[in-house]
């Protein structure tokens, strides 16, 4: 049945495009697939070089702290705002739905569960993909096109150790901490939105919300964001370090960093959620 559908679809496309256009389409698709494989191959080699550089001393602790501040502290207001807004929206939407099913008393638990298990981590991942992905992509891209990275190598300093390893590690360390902040703000603002509609004390809200929460509901989803951090850091640094073509290239690197890191964060989330369910049930 599937083969038949594909055959019909293929014939329809061939008739619409004509033989010449079809060949052009096939060759474009072929080069797209090849460049995709090349991209993953280059990324693999980039990761291998990064691991070699990161494991060998000297360790750039000063730069790591600076990056943790730049990626962590400076993203905190944005992540807190995004987390808080998610809490308000969840509260407004779920209240209505639960009221229809006569299960309004479950509202705190639903808000807490949805925030700690999914909304907090994914919102943090996507916000950081945008802010940090674009920032790193543009910063390293502009360093590349203005020969600052060459200057660093000429000074016998490995840019993979000084620039890339510190940024990737800072992303890995900061994402779980920022997720905690998003979770906190989401739950708190969920309570605020709830209590404005129907007053409830914060203590009672939290007691109801966390009554059935286990560590296994909280720890794996929070720490899965370390993987998001790795993805954001690696993709943004990789796109930045392979920048070509002046300021236009820098723009392309910033955009592609955001698009690719967001995409891979969402795909990784699907895999990780499935994995967590398999491991923790």
């Amino acid at each position: 049945m599937i083969y038949l559908a594909l055959f019909v679809l293929g014939t329809a496309i061939a008739e619409t495009l004509g033989p010449g256009r079809l060949l052009e389409g096939v060759s474009a698709a072929k080069s797209l697939v090849i460049s995709g494989f090349e991209w993953f191959g280059d990324l693999g080699m980039f990761c291998a070089r990064l691991v070699r550089a990161a494991l060998a001393p000297p360790y750039e602790l000063g730069e790591l702290v600076r990056q943790c501040d730049s990626i962590g502290s400076k993203s905190l207001p944005l992540v807190a705002l995004a987390g808080g807004a998610t809490g308000v929206v969840l509260s407004l939407q779920i209240r209505d739905s639960l009221t229809r099913f006569g299960a309004k008393s479950l509202l705190p638990a639903v808000i807490v569960f949805s925030i700690i298990k999914e909304s907090g981590p994914i919102i943090t991942g996507l916000v950081l993909s945008g802010r940090v992905g674009a920032g790193i992509g543009a910063e390293l891209g502009s360093m590349k096109v203005t020969e600052q990275i060459d200057a660093m190598e000429a000074s016998a300093v490995d840019p993979y150790r000084f620039l890339v390893a510190t940024r990737v590690l800072a992303c890995i360390l900061m994402l779980p901490l920022l997720t905690l902040a998003a979770d906190f703000c989401g739950i708190f603002m969920g309570w605020v939105a709830n209590t404005l509609a129907e007053p409830i004390s914060l203590q009672l809200f939290l007691e109801n919300g966390f009554k059935n929460v286990l560590f296994s509901d909280f720890i794996p989803p929070t720490f899965k964001t370390a993987v998001f951090g790795f993805i954001i850091g690696i993709v943004a640094c990789f796109q930045g370090m392979r920048t070509r073509g002046g300021t236009e290239g820098v723009g392309r690197s910033a955009t592609s960093s955001v698009v690719l890191s967001s995409l891979f964060v969402i795909l990784a989330d699907v895999v990780l959620v499935r994995l967590i369910l398999v491991v923790y049930g």
């Binding site: 000297p58 502009s142 360093m143 203005t146 020969e147 600052q148 060459d150 200057a151 660093m152 190598e153 000429a154 000074s155 016998a156 300093v157 490995d158």
Partner: protein, 253 residues
């Protein structure tokens, strides 16, 4: 893979049969070049003729297709990263656009190689940075960011950074390009001063024939990926090659 530091030949820079291409385009086509200790060699040639590529190959910012490059007695073409960095510490590089780190101040830019490769105390490091900045007349702008500096000032800071580890060899990529004649002459004077005081070995890639006449001991003409002719300015003026005559004629105007 070479791992031991070899110190046999005294000549600091020896390039033999060096080839480099990008795709189908051949940029360097079997270059041979020796630069003696304390000598300043100017490399001249048309834009896009592979002069900057040659400099980048010398500290392996790019890898050659084939050929040999010996720096301070060490073959660098097949050297591992750790030993390559030991060689790089002996070489200072002034980039065409200075390539100062945007996020660091003038002082931090010059201190960067020192903080990575020496165990100097902070006071000694500051002292050394200030001395080197004073040598290029930039010691009053320590706290400024690179974006606050003019092109000439950036080149001076870049020069201070290239020299702060007190290298034996210095590579200059278009040190006077894009500068007004007065600033260009000042940079030229700094190169002469450096040569006289520190006896450094230098390669200066430039289009500036008049400048090269002042600061170089020898000129090398690159044409179509190879050394067309080399010698002093006077030797080159006597050369009958049309390209050399045309280049010197236009450059001397």
């Amino acid at each position: 893979m070479a791992t031991k530091i070899e110190e046999k030949d005294e000549t600091p820079i020896i390039i033999s049969n060096l080839h480099k291409g990008f795709g189908n385009q051949k940029v360097l086509n079997g270059i041979n070049l020796r630069v003696a200790r304390g000598e300043t060699t100017a490399v001249l040639g048309r834009s896009g003729g592979g002069k900057s590529v040659l400099l980048k190959l010398i500290i392996r910012l790019q890898t050659p297709d084939t050929g040999s490059i010996r720096i301070a007695g060490q073959e660098i073409t097949d050297l591992d990263e750790e030993h390559l960095n030991e060689v790089r510490k002996k070489v200072g590089f002034l980039f065409q656009q200075a390539a100062l780190y945007d996020s660091l101040t003038v002082e931090e830019n010059v201190a960067f190689p020192l903080s990575r490769h020496t165990k100097m105390s902070q006071t000694d490091r500051k002292q050394r940075v200030r001395e080197h900045l004073a040598n290029v007349g930039m010691d009053r702008d320590l706290r400024k960011m690179p974006s606050e500096l003019s092109g000439g000032m950036q080149k001076r800071v870049g020069l201070a950074r290239a020299l702060v580890l007190e290298p034996e060899i210095v590579l200059f990529d278009e040190p006077t390009a894009g500068l007004d004649p007065i600033t260009a002459a000042e940079i030229g004077d700094l190169i002469v001063e450096l040569k006289q005081k520190r006896k450094i070995t230098a390669i200066v890639v430039t289009h500036d024939v008049q400048g090269a006449k002042v600061f170089s001991d020898r000129m090398v003409f690159l044409h179509e990926g190879n050394v067309l002719v080399e010698g002093s300015f006077d030797d080159l003026q006597k050369n009958k090659d049309q390209f050399v005559a045309e280049f010197l004629g236009h450059g001397s105007r």
